[in-house]
Amino acid sequence: MTSATEPTEPLSVEQLSATTLLRFATAGSVDDGKSTLVGRLLHDSKSVLTDQLEAVERVSADRGQDTPDLALLTDGLRAEREQGITIDVAYRYFATARRRFILADTPGHVQYTRNMVTGASTADLAVVLVDARNGVIEQTRRHAAVAALLRVPHVVLAVNKMDLVDYRESVFAAIAEEFTAYASELGVPEITAIPISALAGDNVVEPSANMDWYGGPTVLEHLETVPVSHDLAHCHARLPVQYVIRPQTAEHPDYRGYAGQIAAGTFRVGESVTVLPSGRTSKVAGIDLLGTPVDIAWTPQSVTLLLADDIDISRGDLLVPSKDAPPTTQDVEATVCHVADQPLTVGHRVLLKHGTRTVKAIVKDIPSRLTLDDLSLHPHPGRLVANDIGRVKIRTAEPLPLDSYADSRRTGAFILIDPSDGTTLTAGMVGESFAAPQPVKNEGDDDGWDF
């Protein structure tokens, strides 16, 4: 941190209210400068306040360090401070006049793939850091693969430490080209490469004077302008029913509303809808947006739908447009990331939570395990351990209306839960995962898993 940019003017109430929200995740190896980048984004956007900075300065000085250790801003737990490492995802908040940000700050260690999966599951954008001196390394490919697997809509490649390569365009261009080719092949829809120095502040918040060959946005400018709303016209509309609202009061004797957060697409009054898995149909008679009637509602609004017919609907059901209903199935094929310390094995009896529905399920097969380094598949590993990514086949006790994760991140996702102690075991994504899956390796090549 070489300079401290003070905010110029306080924002007006109008400016503050007109902003949208961007959720993003950062990924980077241990020494790529992720803490410095996060620290600079927080610091330069005024999100590190005086008392927090004073606390960091005090602790740094007590430890005999010359400069404030900005990692102390983000490492919040005793164990993290003692060991100087980050052991878990933390969420950070900062704002500019144009947008508010939720940053999932995920640890960079190789063994914490599950943490990047956690952070990326709700992210609209992922920032992958590389060290300009090292270029695209294995860990970079893992991060790109996880972003692709989780279908994060936007990926930023931040080529950091440009100051250590004399700000040379050729270094940046080569890294950007290699990464873009790799990530595009995985199906990452949009990649933006930005040359930065988090330490010196080049192209993070302020445009760099050292790289006049670069004409693109700074990291913050890109974060402020990247679109967060999607083209909903082509989305399948989905409403997992969370709760049935029945006041049974004198004022509302007959009110019966189906409450939930729209997981995808739009719903309109007058539209024909089908209840899954039962298959019963009705029409949308009204939509309440938290107490206010509206004609149309869309994701991710929390709403209450009123239907024309009194049919049997309860928590766990899925409301969909009749013209666009997903198939229901008891046989789920998915790509999963195992997030628990106890392994997932063939024959494992689990609970599967999809939307608002939790059903009994059994792991029928684990056909393959993925090596993120080269995207090759190892056949029939028998089990998945923490941080493993693999394909699984699951049989559920009841039919589920499943979308492909590629079509819907909300209704194509599920978690597996251990019924004995409630542990969240596995994150699941229905359907094919990568744009171009690599062939299965010979079993003889299986020399173990390096997570």
Partner: protein
């Protein structure tokens, strides 16, 4: 490669446009309502921690909207330190009556009177809240306890899950937290365990204030600038009261102040302020260089890990 290495067309400056974009407040509101409804759908006996502070007031407002036109299907729980601002207790009782809610009170004073808890030498009762809170949760068999905690408040809170599993002693173990994926919250728990639920996890102090302004939510008067007799202790303006302040060496003076948080009178400081309206408060907070806790909470300054340690023991 002379411009940005953008593969597909980036949005340029039109990022916030489009008919389906939600404002950040609408997005946060929708997420919080989703969390309330998940708990209502999955738990037997949820309760909302209600201190009459701005965060719990916003929580109640969100719960009212989430289940409208039906009543809120939860009761409220106030952990009463015995050192309350009178305006705050009055607000609490008025709100409970207005919405026909049921209020549980866990009283620190009762525990002190019974000799179970000892008054601390500094007179601060905030750390004493943990035992009455956790015992009330056990005796009432609450299985989900909503708290107004926000991750922006403190760095131990930044590590907190939206659904935070607590054991039968209400303890928080940061190493044993469940990963939280997508919006698929896992509320499974064994008998005796419960889940702390934080619908405002992703809100900042400024979000809370903007939402209060947008929704025209009434607050206790102490949040707005007013003349008050205060005295200085450890760099903070405290209100005199039966809890043991001021000491002989401390002098009372009249100042124009307001509160950024509501808590125990003995450790919640007021800030100098002219902000008598919501807009003025928001402008003041947007320009402030101090965090809410740094400005007004003595107990968080006790040690580097004060909040983490209290949370481990079962504090909210």
């Amino acid at each position: 490669m002379t411009t940005a290495a953008t593969v597909s067309e980036a949005a340029g400056d039109s990022g916030d446009a489009g008919p389906y974009a939600l404002s950040h407040l609408d997005a946060l509101e929708s997420e919080a309502v989703h969390i309330f409804r998940e708990v209502a759908g999955e738990f037997e006996r949820p309760v909302v921690l209600f201190s009459s502070g701005k965060d719990s007031i916003v929580m109640l407002h969100l719960a009212l909207k989430a289940f409208a036109p039906a009543p809120v299907p939860f009761s409220l729980l106030h952990v009463d330190t015995g050192h309350n601002f009178p305006e705050v207790l009055e607000y609490r009782d008025r709100t409970v009556a207005a919405h026909g809610l049921r209020l549980h009170v866990a009283s620190v004073q009762d525990y002190i009177d019974r000799g179970v808890l000892k008054e601390r030498p500094d007179g601060t009762r905030n750390p004493l809240q943990t035992v009455p809170l956790t015992e009330k949760i056990q005796s009432e068999r609450f299985d989900a306890v909503f708290g107004g905690g926000r991750r922006d408040e403190e760095k131990a809170r930044a590590k907190e899950r939206v659904f935070s599993l607590r054991d039968e002693f209400s303890q928080w173990d940061p190493r044993r937290q469940r990963p939280e994926l997508w919006q698929l919250y896992n509320g499974r728990h064994a008998p005796g365990e419960h889940v702390r639920v934080f619908p405002l996890s992703n809100w900042t102090e400024l979000d809370v204030w903007q939402y209060i302004a947008r929704e025209h939510i009434e607050l206790p008067e102490i949040y707005f600038a007013h003349e008050r007799e205060v005295f200085q202790r450890a760099g903070m303006w405290l209100t005199a009261g039966e809890w043991g302040g001021p000491k002989e060496s401390e002098t009372v003076e009249k100042r124009q102040v307001r509160y950024r948080t509501v808590g125990d009178m003995s450790c919640t400081g007021a800030v100098d302020s002219d902000a008598t309206t919501l807009d003025a408060v928001i402008t003041e907070i947007a320009a402030s260089r101090l965090t809410e806790r740094g400005a007004t909470r003595a107990d968080d300054k006790m040690s580097e890990a004060a909040m983490e340690d209290r949370k481990r023991e079962g504090y909210f």
